[in-house]
């Protein structure tokens, strides 16, 4: 305890030095919070946004569908499995869908594209980007009706308006070519050309009839969870629960590889930046502590001469670095808190910049023009312990130097 007080006092013998070092630590905290916070927020945002583009956080699908999607790969018992999934903790939504390719034709033209057949009772704009992006009309509410929701670019290509008919042709489970007619009940505009030009929503029961699926078959169950980080955990849980070799459970990391790649590279850059900045700050801390030790060789010599064991001396210097870390953290929290709060509540608005560029997407996901910040609990712990460990490690060498002090030698020098 006494050693502790001594360390604290020592720290304040040179206020300026301690404050500057403390400030550099707090700068580290600040940067770490900003980098990690934008990452935690941004990735979650992107993953959640991407999850609403069709594949969710976790999907349950027929084996092999992800690799080579085709309409003859069907998931059986899908409604029953959905019922089970929806009761699980952490699952915020689950919905049954059919996904396939089709040709869409009007009297003037035809285009290729893909359809997502959905159950209007279990879908909502919260879990479906295309429903959210409807600009005209409304989502069909009959699952065996003739509604269709198409994108603005496809509507333009086919020269079709709300209420007009569109004929789609696809291949059923027997490999037969089947055609159906639908009327446009809504038009969406997501801003993503590849979605607006090639994706449509169809009512699931109608599609089941067209394709020859039973009322219980589908391509997949899309599961949305409240915390994207639990996707892999849920995947494993569902795999065990369903326990069927014909069924595959995949997380977004597996179904949305582009996004996974984008996040990986961004995370790597982010971590690397933090490590490098941390290294620089560590060099600063080391510098401070080492100088502090070297100035006091005489003092240490006396302390050792009066019987202080080297281990206590070592502990003293480590304690100094410990208190330095505390000071740095307190300063860090002081300067970071208002900034964090601002980003959390208000955010940085890049709307104008994005508008200039005409919308912004990465990895096929629309990005929110307002940058917010959010830290996971784990990240806060990681940052705090990171700073602590960094400081303590920086203290090791100076502490070792202090122990090496030869009391007789130091006392000789003037």
């Amino acid at each position: 305890m006494q050693l502790n007080r001594l360390a604290w006092k020592n720290l304040w013998r040179n206020k300026r030095r301690t404050l500057i070092t403390g400030f550099s630590i707090s700068l580290g905290v600040f940067l770490s919070v900003t980098f990690t916070g934008t990452g935690d927020y941004g990735y979650t945002n992107m993953i959640d946004a991407s999850a609403t583009m069709g594949l969710g956080h976790v999907t349950v699908e027929a084996k092999g569908f992800n690799e080579t999607p085709s309409l003859d790969k069907r998931l059986k018992n899908s409604e029953k499995i959905r019922e089970q999934i929806i009761t699980l903790p952490n699952v915020s939504d689950a919905t049954v869908r059919i996904m396939g390719q089709a040709m869409f034709a009007s009297a003037s033209k035809s285009v290729g594209g893909s359809f997502l057949a959905i159950n209007s009772a279990t879908e909502s704009e919260k879990i479906n980007l295309m429903i959210r992006a409807i600009v005209e009309g409304e989502l069909f509410d009959e699952n065996d009706g003739r509604g269709i929701v198409i994108g603005s670019i496809m509507a333009e290509k086919l020269k079709l308006k709300l209420g007009k008919k569109i004929v789609y042709t696809t291949t059923d489970i027997n490999g037969e070519i089947v055609g159906e007619v639908a009327r446009i009940s809504a038009i969406f505009k997501t801003g993503l050309d590849e979605v607006d030009g090639a994706m449509v929503l169809l009512p699931i029961d109608r599609v089941r009839k067209t394709l020859g699926y039973t009322a219980d078959e589908s391509s997949m169950i899309t599961v949305i969870i409240s915390d994207q980080r639990r996707a892999e955990e849920l995947r494993d849980q569902l795999t065990t629960m369903i326990n069927d070799p014909e069924t595959e459970v995949l997380s977004w990391q597996q179904t949305q590889r582009d996004l996974t790649g984008l996040i990986t590279i961004d995370k790597t850059t982010n971590y690397l930046s933090q490590v490098l900045v941390g290294l620089v700050i560590a060099a600063g801390i080391l510098n401070t502590l080492l100088m502090g030790v070297m100035e006091r060789t005489r003092e240490f010599g006396i302390m050792m001469a009066v019987g202080m064991p080297p281990s206590a001396l070592f502990r003293l210097v480590i304690l100094e670095s410990f208190w330095l870390a505390i000071v740095g953290l307190i300063m860090g929290v002081m300067i970071t808190a208002p900034w964090y709060w601002y980003l959390l509540e208000v955010g940085l608005d890049f709307t104008e910049m994005f508008e200039e560029m005409g919308g912004y997407s990465a990895g096929g996901v629309l990005i929110d023009p307002i940058m917010h910040i959010r830290l996971f609990k784990e990240s806060i712990i990681a940052i705090l312990s990171g700073v602590f460990i960094l400081t303590l490690i920086s203290g090791l060498y100076p502490a070792w130097r202090a122990v090496k002090t030869n009391p007789v030698e130091t006392l000789k020098t003037i």
Partner: protein
Amino acid sequence: MRLSRQLLGTIFCLLTVFIPSHINAAIEPPSAESVERAREILRSIDDLWRGDSSYAIFSMHVKTEHYQRSMQMEAWSKGKDKSLVKILKPLKEKGTASLKSGKHLYSYLPRTDRTIRLTSGMMMGSWMGSHFTNDDLVDESRMEEDYTPAVTFEGVRDGNDIIEFALIPKEDAAVVWGKIILTVFAKSLLPIEEIFYDEDGIETRRMSFSDYKVMSGRELPAVMRVTPTDKPDEYTEIIYETLELNVDLKDSLFSINSLKRRR
């Protein structure tokens, strides 16, 4: 669309009859009476064209903005949903064949000696470079199922006694058109012209018939010409050279194996 069947060699199977009225005339809801009368006439037209099987040789001339080509083809048909077409000329493409069996459409490619089944993605592609799509060929003639007919005009137009029908696709029919106007001669019930409109009543393509002559004991139009309305300089024309009706054809003719067979 029905047209396709004829294209495939059966000039008969159903009909596609009827004259254009004034083009953009909006269609009023047909009265029950006119629908019944239209059905009756369509049925007799159907009878007129009915035949179990056919064999034909015809030539096809295609003119587009970019190319012009002529082909001679040989065609067989049996029942409603079996037909086979093989190219005779030009030599370069000789042997290329299309087989329609039920709802499937296969192409045989002699150069590579491969048979390909067309997928839904190709249905809207052009058939042999013409103005017909593959879908036109496959499309069953479901005139009666898919359309509600109505007689919209009967009497003399341009010196001919004609009947004009409007065919309105039923709500559930997988048909892209908004309506089809068909004109036939009142007496012979032979088709004169068929015009396709989109849902806004804008004409998109037109098929006309001419050169009526007796073939295989029946009077039929030997020339059929399709023109896309937005490209008036383009057309596809089919001219029948030989037509035999009710010939004896084996089912095995309409198999994938016979696609490859050279005659």
